[in-house]
């Protein structure tokens, strides 16, 4: 327990959808998430639209409350912390550098805001801290007095990272931190996150749909599909021997910028299901190329601890005890 900074058990989040005159439907954004993250670890959360990763981030940031389940941070329930204590625990870096900074505030005001809100230090001492952090994140010193409109996307993202780190949070949640940036800038920011992670021994949750990025930065990866975690384990293992067919498809879908690359045939049937109407049994069965009859009837439970998966007929298993491992 002491080494686990974050423990989520059975976290569920449902929304009632439909106005006063429509039939009430429930959107199940998260369905029973169990997740633990240890101190200093980087967890990559991978999934596509509708998988619930943004909802998960919002719950961790305290922007939303789970419908069911518990979230423990540093041993205490998340909602037992007040607003300011929570701010000291968990900080975000968002995807869109153009809307995550207040265009009417200077960079200094933006970065020092977490301290100013808590009334920490004087203006001068906060300014000094801002300058230290600007140097940490590689932001040229003269930009501290600038407005966001004068900064490039990469520079803005550095400001966002500086703002997140100035309060020395325990957990950093990066929600697609490089997706909105140019390719040549993405690697700059990834290198920065990598360095900060090591220097500050940060616990980081990296949410991304880009598997190459996740593989590079994350120690462990959790794959999400329609509100559930369908596979989890150390990065290298997941990438070399995925167990869940969805993980397999995601990996095949990564297009490699090398000569001779071919477009993959994922063999996925049908269209994306909607979280309003999740399929029966295993959520992935309508699209799964290896689905069998019972996949549509019985929802698979999570098997395994550190290396877990949620599938009746997992791939690449070495154990002989599991029969009909589809190939």
């Amino acid at each position: 327990m002491t080494n686990d900074v974050l423990i989520m058990r059975g976290v569920t989040r449902e929304y009632a959808v439909g106005g006063p005159f429509a039939k009430k439907k429930t959107l199940k954004a998260l369905r029973g998430i169990d997740l633990t993250v240890s101190r200093g670890q980087t967890l990559g959360l991978v999934g596509e639209s509708g998988c619930g990763k943004s909802t998960l981030a919002k719950i961790l940031l305290g922007v939303e409350e789970p419908t069911a389940g518990t979230v423990l941070v540093d041993g205490r329930p998340l909602n037992s912390y007040d607003r300011l204590e929570r701010a000291k625990l968990i900080q975000p870096v968002f995807q869109d550098p153009y809307s995550s900074l207040n265009p009417r505030m200077t960079v200094e005001a933006i970065i020092s805001a977490p301290l100013a809100v808590r009334g920490v230090g004087t203006r001068a001492s906060r300014r000094k801290r801002v300058e230290e952090l600007a140097a940490e994140v590689g932001l040229p010193r003269h930009l501290v007095d600038a407005y966001p409109s004068q900064l490039s996307g990469g520079q803005r993202q550095r400001v966002a990272i500086a703002r997140a780190l100035i309060g020395e949070p325990k957990i950093l949640i990066c929600d697609e931190p490089t997706s909105a940036l140019d390719v040549s800038v993405q690697s700059q920011i990834l290198n920065l996150l990598h360095r900060l992670k090591q220097e500050l021994n940060l616990t980081m949750i990296l949410i991304s749909h880009n598997l190459a990025v996740v593989h590079h930065l994350a120690d462990e990866v959790a794959v999400m599909y329609l509100g559930q975690i369908v596979e989890r384990g150390p990065s290298e293992e997941i990438f070399e021997r995925p167990h869940h067919p969805y993980t397999d498809a995601l990996l095949k879908a990564v297009l490699i910028p090398r000569p001779g690359s071919r477009l993959p045939d994922l063999g996925l049937q049908a269209e994306f299901p909607s979280p309003l109407n999740p399929p029966s049994g295993c959520a992935f069965h309508p699209r799964c190329p290896y689905a069998q009859a019972d996949c549509s009837r019985i929802a698979p439970a999570t098997r395994g601890e550190q290396r877990s998966y949620r599938c009746h007929y997992p791939l690449n298993l070495v154990e002989a005890s599991l029969t009909s491992a589809a190939s």
């Binding site: 596509e48 639209s49 590689g138 490039s152 996307g153 990469g154 520079q155 140019d182 390719v183 040549s184 800038v185 993405q186 690697s187 700059q188 990834l190 290198n191 990598h194 749909h209 880009n210 598997l211 190459a212 990025v213 593989h215 590079h216 990065s235 290298e236 990438f239 498809a249 995601l250 990996l251 095949k252 879908a253 990564v254 297009l255 490699i256 910028p257 090398r258 000569p259 001779g260 690359s261 071919r262 477009l263 993959p264 045939d265 994922l266 996925l268 049908a270 269209e271 994306f272």
Partner: protein
């Protein structure tokens, strides 16, 4: 996939007057596409690739002016084509697929109506025949229950389906050329693979020329026959796809390839390569190499004047004054340390 040339563009320039200066986001771009060929125009934001496509389609914003030596579509010169001619060509001979399917389709009209409108604009065709043709194409792009889709509104379809509808709409009049501007950037990665395969298949069947505009080198690797790399409004490298990917000649292309993590090749935990600095603003005339501020190999002579695009054999062209032999292999590492 060599065939007859469909599109030839020479010396395309786009200027936008802004307060007190003239922006030149596109400077002297040459581009050509042949039958059945996929040409990828690769670059990041600010390189001018989207404006180039819009100029080719005659869709530039009003504030922008463009000049060019020549634009020919299957032999017909379009350099001074009237707006009426452009309207005839768009959707009929040249079709465009945009990035965001959520905003590219009109939310107020049903899919069937939008498709019929395109057909009836360019062909004398009855509503019934238009409906048949629409269904045919919806099936071709792999949309399930096409009859239902015709009477649906765009918001009732998912992103992947909407993009397929866009592709179907582009194909309605059997165009010779399709320009796809970041067609899969807004889509999920598993859908992206399917859409790209679809485009490839259609191209093989019909011999359409495809200009694929993207910043994603992975997409390029799987789709393109030829690559045109743009930086700062100029073409900086041209060549066959596999050729460029295995041996990039321009420092910018090199830098791009070094900065992308590849699972299995880039070692986890290593620092990624990067290109320091940011893309500069494109104002005024070129007096020196456009990449000089970020280039690891730059020398004094790179600043003396603009660098021309030169052919280096095998269909390759590159805009760099420093040949491969004269480049220091440690230059990138030194640049990384200095930043």
């Amino acid at each position: 996939m060599r065939g007859e040339p469909i599109l030839e563009v020479k010396g395309l320039q786009v200027e936008i007057p802004v307060e007190g200066a003239v922006l030149r986001p596109v400077r002297g771009v040459d581009l050509s596409v042949s039958r059945g060929e996929t040409v990828a125009v690769v670059g990041e934001s600010g390189c001018g690739k989207s404006l180039t496509a819009l100029a080719i389609m005659g869709l530039l914003p009003r504030a922008a002016r463009y000049t060019c030596e020549r634009i020919t579509l299957k032999g017909e010169a379009l350099t001074n084509a009237s707006p009426r001619r452009w309207r005839q060509l768009r959707g009929d001979r040249i079709a465009m697929i945009f990035q965001d399917p959520m905003t590219a389709l009109d939310p107020c009209y049903r899919i069937g109506d939008q498709m019929r409108e395109i057909l009836q604009q360019h062909r004398r065709i009855s509503s019934q025949a238009a409906r048949e043709r629409s269904l045919e194409l919806l099936r071709k792009v792999g949309i399930p229950s096409p009859e239902e889709r015709l009477s649906q509104f765009p918001h009732q379809l998912s992103g992947g389906l909407r993009q397929r509808v866009m592709i179907a709409m582009a194909l309605l009049c059997e165009p010779e050329l399709i320009i796809a501007d970041e067609p899969t950037t807004a889509l999920d990665v598993t859908i992206q693979a399917q859409i790209l395969r679809l485009l490839r298949e259609i191209q093989r069947d019909t011999g359409i020329g495809l200009i694929l505009i993207t910043h994603d080198l992975g997409v390029v690797a799987g789709m393109a026959d030829r690559i045109v790399v743009m930086y700062g409004g100029e073409v900086v490298e041209v060549g066959a796809c596999d050729d460029i990917l295995s041996r990039p000649l321009h420092p910018y292309t090199e830098g791009l390839m070094r900065s992308i993590p590849v699972p299995g090749q880039t070692k986890r935990g290593d620092l990624l390569g990067f290109i320091p600095g940011i893309v500069p603003r494109q104002v005024g005339e070129r007096t020196r190499c456009g990449f000089i501020d970020r280039c690891p190999y730059a020398v004094e002579s790179c600043a003396t004047g603009p660098v021309p695009l030169s052919a280096v054999g095998n269909g390759r062209e590159v805009r760099c004054a420093i040949p491969a032999e004269k480049r220091d292999p440690q230059a990138w590492n030194r640049l990384a340390e200095a930043s």
